[in-house]
């Protein structure tokens, strides 16, 4: 049981990641391939905060400064990279952000931080680099319910954002940039805002990941991670937060299940890759389209109602 709850925690983190990528890719329609970079920045910021600065006796309250630092650092880098890159269109933006993601990973692989006093005593002079950083054991706040509180907060915030004026501006950019500009949408402002919001929530996911996993290393934040998350967004339906979250559950669940089947288990990645190609091929518009849970539920209810009415009487 404890193992399934642990997986539930992982799923929660991926839900937040998928929802955050959905802001920029799904709602605003800008393809971003550097999301793992923001996730990494968040995880490392939160990790370093809790390595150097932890107030004893406060327990989970210690999560807050780390999480704030994570969101702040991720947003900061989003501004830094967003201002020059967001003028790029389509594939070029995707490539530039891909470059950014790789720069973050490769830099973390070669960046060292001075060791905290506890480690200095054991003869370790520096932490970081390719072997990564380790958080203190008492900084583990990885319970599934703790993560799921943030999943719910994120979901509520982002769905409300989608239904606000800002959200409608994002959607207008996605449908037609030129038409949106003609209607008075400030393109650079809204594009940057979308980019920064997306990065901030990715940073939050990173902080949760750091405090769940305790061991962080750059190899965890490669291009493959971005692509995993992008898949969730596409499978869920571009622009749908409910869809992104459900897709995160489905994809991670499937991968776990594959791992537990004899013979397939050791080669699950092979089957997973095949499954991905098929999913994209047969569900290109995702499970939910642009809708959220309530929209889909209404539609299903209508359909059932009509089906009942269509039934021959007697």
């Amino acid at each position: 049981m404890s193992y399934y709850l642990d997986i539930l925690g992982n799923i929660g983190i991926f839900m937040i990641l998928a929802m955050s990528l959905n802001v920029i890719c799904g709602m605003t329609g800008l393809l971003q391939l550097g999301h793992a970079g923001f996730f990494a920045l968040g995880a490392y910021s939160a990790g370093l905060v809790s390595i150097y600065w932890q107030l004893p006796g406060l327990g989970m309250v210690n999560f807050i400064p780390g999480a704030l630092a994570a969101m702040l650092v991720a947003s900061l880098f989003a501004v830094l990279i967003g201002v020059p890159c967001l003028r790029l269109r389509g594939d070029y933006l995707a490539i530039a952000t891909l470059g950014f993601g790789e720069i973050v990973r490769l830099s973390l692989q070669n960046l060292y931080f001075p060791a905290p006093p506890a480690l200095l005593e054991r003869g370790v002079e520096r932490i970081g680099g390719a072997t990564g950083i380790s958080l203190p054991v008492n900084a583990q706040y990885g319970s599934w319910w703790f993560i799921w509180i943030f999943v719910i907060i994120t979901y509520v915030l982002l769905v409300n954002l989608k239904r606000s004026a800002i959200g409608r501006a994002f959607l207008a950019i996605r449908e037609d940039e030129i038409a949106a500009r003609a209607m008075g949408v400030n393109l650079p402002y809204y594009k940057s805002l979308s980019f920064v919001l997306s990065a901030a929530f990715a940073g939050l996911a990173g902080a949760l990941y750091a405090h769940k996993q305790l061991t962080l290393h750059p190899g965890d934040f490669g291009l493959l991670r971005t692509i995993e998350v992008l898949l969730m967004v596409v499978l869920g339906g571009l622009g749908s937060f409910s869809g992104a979250a459900l897709a995160a559950l489905l994809l991670i669940g499937t991968r776990e299940a594959l791992g537990q089947i004899p013979y397939i288990g050791p080669n699950r990645e092979l089957f997973f890759a095949l499954l991905l190609i098929l999913m994209i091929r047969f569900v290109p518009n995702g499970l939910f389209g642009l809708k959220e849970f309530d929209g889909v539920a209404r539609q299903l209810a209508r359909r059932f109602k009509r089906a009942r009415e269509d039934e021959p009487h007697g």
Partner: protein, 308 residues
Amino acid sequence: MDLFLYYLVEGICNGAVIALIALGYTLVYGIIKLINFAHGEFYMVGAYAGFAMYAVVPSSVPVWLTILLLLLVAGIAGAIIAIITERIAYKPIRDSSRLVALLTAIGVSFFLQNLFKFVNSGNRLAFGGAVAEVTQFSVRIFGTGFYLSKFVFILVTVLLMVWLWYLVAATRFGRSMRAVSQDLDAARLMGIDVDKTIMMTFALGGFFAGVAGMMVGAIKQIDPMMGFMPGLIAFVAAVIGGIGSVPGAVIGGFLIGILQTMVVWLGLRLGYAEAANAYKEVAVFLLLIVVLVVRPQGILGRAERIKV
């Protein structure tokens, strides 16, 4: 001891391989606007095919003939896997959105990597015997050792480029390729077999990648992930050169090859060898972002005009 010349030559040799891979990206993008993420895997498949072929070739065949044969087999294997990929994975989704195509390409790349992990249980392979003796034969120049076979990289790349230039400029296939890249629908209306042209373009790119994979595999090692980073770097080269432009890919390839070794050389000169070696890939991606910001269409690319 100044190793400038050594690193320059090393950079040119590495650049030749990058250029060869980058050609595949650029050809495919030029014709159907697809970033073929699985291209690095064609390179890996070529190396494996060459290795498998080597086990079959009798040792009585002269070494130079064996190597030529291995290069050819690797190229053909790359072409075949490219055709299969195009037919099974890309053709059915040609009319879907760009995002669907991109994700499919990534899925294919992921699939091929894991397929070879499954076949080979992830072990690294290295050439042995007569071929290894030839490919790993070294000469002493610039005060240090140098693989003689690396010069073959340049030779092979130049030969293949001349061939490609001839294909594109002077053959029927080249003409239909240029037509399809300008306007796919118009080309179809003019009676060009678009499907066949796209397939042949993939085959051509796969051939180049397969040859490149074999050349590198012969002096280094072969493993299922070997195509990932070179693929990514070559892709960056294609973008920097101007994606869709054949000479652009070549220029981009050599530029990046030289940039990487020059970063290392500078690091050695200034006493930061460790850091320079570690950050040589960061330098590539930084150059990418700078080029994209300053000149998004790349060095030789044509700017896209936005029509309202």
